[in-house]
Structure formats: structure tokens, C-alpha cells
């Protein structure tokens, strides 16, 4: 267990309750995606764990070190990539990265700096000033700053917020590389496809509460609806009456049927459907299934939570 959060609460001076008793555990080497709409409490959670804001109550330990009592040992293990691009515009890439390493009590390590900057495609830009870099490069500088002290736990707060598709993909590749290097990653996002593409587990935060925490695959299985699409040998003009009662729909061209079923149910009704089709003399050409995306699951969960 690398990170353990117990009943963490955060109420700001304005009275706004950003975290309402969140508890979670994160294992070594996994990627956890925290999903949630804007203002759900994702950044508050990260800020509190990293020491940027003080918790109102509850506890957090990183590799067994309490973030308040043993803050030095705890923080040494953590790297943080903030949501906003916060860099000194006049600094050179190399200087700002070395500064971050120094803050974590470590001496300059030229070989490591070169390795990290090369991995993030920044080595060629090491002597450039921050203001001369593109938005994507600046974001990579933030990652380099967070990695330069070799953290075991990396927080990525909305790493692909307002970046283009190409850069998003390259960011996902960086995350995959880090995972291979054994870094545990917690990322917040409101892009569902991001969680779907890179996370091992998904946590959903809404209104300061952890609504759900599941393995990504089991979450999709548990909450996902599946669509069974059946292509027919011959055009069908009208759906037999017994089938139309079973949530089966005939396409406009009469050449395919769709059946929506819930994977959570013990009986999906597929066997019965197929035997009914056979009994009705409908011949099949092909069958395929589609799983609902995390986005649909997320929207459903947040909606349920609001009700």
C-alpha cells in the first residue's frame, strides 16, 4: 500500500465543504484515475494530500508516513504536476528543473536530468527560456519538475486539460512509460476516454464524495450496458410481436436488430432472444456486441448521485 487516505475532510474558510470524508487506498505501481465534474473536489483532494492546503480532519499516509507528522519523509515520495501551467517565464528549462530537485533536498544529478528531459523530448530545449516554449512543452516541463526528484507517487492534475489530441496521446505514452518504470500515478481528469485509455482503477468523485472506486474493467462490466447487434440474412418488414416486447428494435432498412441488455443482470436474455429468432425463422448473418463507454457510466452515476 503506497497511499492511504482516511476520512479526509476539507472545509474552506468560506464554509465550502470540498471534501466530505474521503477514504481510499492506492497500491504500488497502479494508475488510478479520479473522475469528476468541475468543482467535484479532485484538486482539493490532491492539494490536501500534497500539503498545499491543510486538511480539516482525517489522515493521509504515504508509504506509512503521515503527511503532517512525518511530512518530510512523506513529501519526498511525491511528485505533483499541477493543473495550471505555473512556471517562471524567464527561467531556463534546465535551471527550473534543477531547482525542483534542490527543493527536495537532492544534489544536482546531470545524468538523471538528461535522462528525464530526453524522455520528455525536452533535452534540446534545455537552455530555452520557459516563455519560448509551446503549451505542450511547458506541460512537459511541469512533469520533468515533478519527476526530477524520483518520486514513487506522481499526481497528475488534469494533465491533458486544454491540450490537442496529438499531445494528449503523447502524454498518455509518457504515463505508460512511467508505469513501466514502477511509478504509481494518480491522475484527475474529466475526460472519460483518458481514464479508459490509461487507468487500472477508476474513482468517481462528485460533490466532495468518492461515489465509487472500481477496477476499470469491472466497473465497465458492472455498470456497462451492452448492445447486441444482429445482422439478418434477409430484410425483415416487421418485427414479430413477441420480439418487440423484449426491447428489440428493428433498423430502418430492416436488415439488423439491436438488443440492449444489462451486464449486471444474471439473465441477459440473449439465449432466449436467439431461440425466439430461430423459432420465428429469422436467419442471422452476423452478431456483434458493443460495451457502453465509461462516459455513459459516469454520467449515469453522477446523475444518480444528484438525485
Amino acid at each position: 500500500m503506497l497511499l492511504e487516505v482516511n476520512e479526509l475532510r476539507k472545509t474552506y474558510a468560506t464554509g465550502f465543504e470540498a471534501l466530505k470524508g474521503i477514504s481510499l487506498k492506492v497500491n504500488n505501481g497502479e494508475i488510478l484515475a479520479l473522475l469528476g465534474p468541475n468543482g467535484a473536489g479532485k484538486t482539493s483532494l490532491i492539494s490536501t494530500i500534497c500539503g498545499i492546503t491543510n486538511p480539516s480532519s482525517g489522515s493521509v499516509s504515504i508509504d506509512g508516513y503521515d503527511i503532517s507528522k512525518n511530512f518530510r519523509d512523506a513529501r519526498k515520495l511525491v511528485g505533483l504536476v499541477p493543473q495550471d501551467i505555473t512556471l517562471e517565464p524567464f527561467e531556463k528549462v534546465l535551471n527550473t528543473v534543477n531547482f525542483s530537485r534542490g527543493l527536495f533536498g537532492k544534489k544536482k544529478d546531470d545524468a538523471l536530468t538528461e535522462k528525464v528531459l530526453t524522455k520528455l523530448s525536452l533535452w534540446e530545449k534545455r537552455d530555452s527560456r520557459i516563455m519560448e516554449l509551446s503549451g505542450g512543452m511547458k506541460r512537459r516541463v511541469l512533469i520533468a519538475k515533478a519527476l526530477i526528484h524520483e518520486p514513487r507517487l506522481l499526481f497528475l492534475d488534469e494533465p491533458t486539460a486544454s491540450v490537442d489530441v496529438e499531445l494528449r496521446q503523447s502524454m498518455w505514452n509518457v504515463v505508460a512509460d512511467l508505469k513501466r518504470d514502477g511509478v504509481t500515478i494518480i491522475l484527475t481528469t474529466h475526460y472519460i476516454e483518458e481514464a479508459e485509455a490509461i487507468a487500472d482503477r477508476v474513482g468517481i468523485i462528485n460533490k466532495g464524495e468518492l461515489v465509487l472506486m472500481e477496477e476499470k474493467a469491472s466497473l465497465m462490466q458492472k455498470f456497462g450496458q451492452k448492445i447486441l447487434k444482429i445482422e439478418l440474412q434477409r430484410r425483415l418488414n416487421k418485427l414479430p410481436e413477441e420480439l418487440s416486447k423484449k426491447n428489440v428494435k428493428l433498423s430502418g432498412d430492416g436488415l439488423s436488430l439491436t438488443y440492449i441488455y444489462d451486464t449486471k443482470q444474471k439473465k441477459t436474455g440473449i439465449t432466449k432472444l436467439l431461440s425466439d429468432l430461430s423459432r420465428s425463422g429469422i436467419n442471422l448473418r452476423d452478431i456483434q456486441t458493443d460495451q457502453s463507454s465509461l462516459e455513459e457510466i459516469f454520467v449515469n452515476l453522477v446523475k444518480e448521485n444528484m438525485e
Binding site: T53, N54, F90, N98, G102, L103, G105
Partner: protein, 253 residues
Amino acid sequence: MNFQAVKAIYFFEMARFFRTLLQSFVSPVISTSLYFVVFGTAIGSRIQEVEGISYGAFIVPGLIMLSVMTQATSNGSFGIYFPKFIGTIYELLSAPINYFEILLGYVGAAATKALFIGLVILVTADIFVDLKIMYPVAMILFLVLTCISFSLLGFILGIWARNFEQLQLVPLLVVTPLVFLGGSFYSVSMLPPIWQKITLFNPVVYLVSGFRWSFFGNADVPIVVSLFAISSFTIVCIVIVAWIFKTGWRIKQ
């Protein structure tokens, strides 16, 4: 103690200073030269001597104090305000460092810059006037204590300020007038009796007087009182900084 972090902050701040070295160096040289032209030559030719010292030499300690106090306050406030303003303060708050180490890095750098400027003015002044320092150790002690205490004041202002306007408010509207009215360019004994009493409420009087004593052996107020004043001011700043750190006032939510 995370010395590496203190070093990192200190040299990062000093690098900012060295990036604009020409500006940092030339600006005090030019302004000091101008003061000598205006006060030393134009006015000094009419005043001749103050307490047996040529007017040109008499204003040197005040000139140094004026620059040191304003520079220390500005550097101290800017150093911590800038990370707050652009958001890079997250790095300081999430690093394995305590507040004392943060303070040491920022105030250490601000005080060093102010000390450097003070020494540049001293050297420049030596070109214009014949300058002898009677108590060099006391002079350095006063100078260093002033650099540290006003950098601490700047640090407090940097944490307090919510915008650049507030950042400039105290150095411009409080520190500079107090230094000008604190006997930088005149002896308190030259004032009318009532103002001699009122001016004693100005804390800068004690600092300028003590600093001038280290040069010429003459003081407006007893040297012990000056030492007490600068020490008290430093302690007050430390107490305020300690409170800020304890409560996280305007740093942490």
C-alpha cells in the same frame, strides 16, 4: 534541516539578481552619484559642515540606509510574492521543507542583494568624498542587521500583498518617507525643538543614527538605543513571520 533546499532557493533568487546585474549595479551607482550632485554639491556647498563633518560625507550613511532599506524591502517582498502571483508556490508547499528553510532562502537572498547594493553605494561614495569608517565592525553589524530586518519586513509584505499595487504600497508610502524624515540627510539637532521630539517616534532615526555613529562616532541618539531599536525591529518581524507560518496566513488555505 534541508540545506539543499535552502541553497536551491537562495541561488535561484540570486540568479534573478545576476540576470539583471547591470541594472542592479548601475542603478544604485547612478542614483548615488545624483544624490551627491544634488545634495552634496548644490546644497552641500551652502551647508559646508554638520557636526564637524563635511556635508558630503555626512549624508553617506543616510544614503546607504535609504537604498538598503528600500531594496531589502522590495527584494524580500518580491521574492515570495512572485511565486504566489504566478502560482509556483505550490512547489514550495509540497516540497519536504519547513517554513524556516523557506524563510532562510528568500530572506537570505534578499538581504545579500541589499548588502551588495549598500557596499556598491559605499564604494561609489568613496569616489566623491573622503570617507573614513571609525568602527568598521559596528558598521557591518548595523548594515547586515538592517538588511536582514528589512528583508523580513519585505517577506511579510510579500505574503500580505494580494496585488502588485499593495506590494509597492509600504516601500513607497511608508519606508521611503520614514527614511527621508529619519535624518538621512540632516542631523536631528538641525530641526526645530518640537520636531526634534516628534522625529523620535520615527524608528528609522535610530537606525540611521547608529549607522552614522559607526562612521563618524557622532550620533543623534545613544548607540545602545540604536542597537536596541534595530534588534527590537528584527525580533518583531521574526515574531510576525512565526505567526504567519503557524497559521498559514495568506499562504495555505
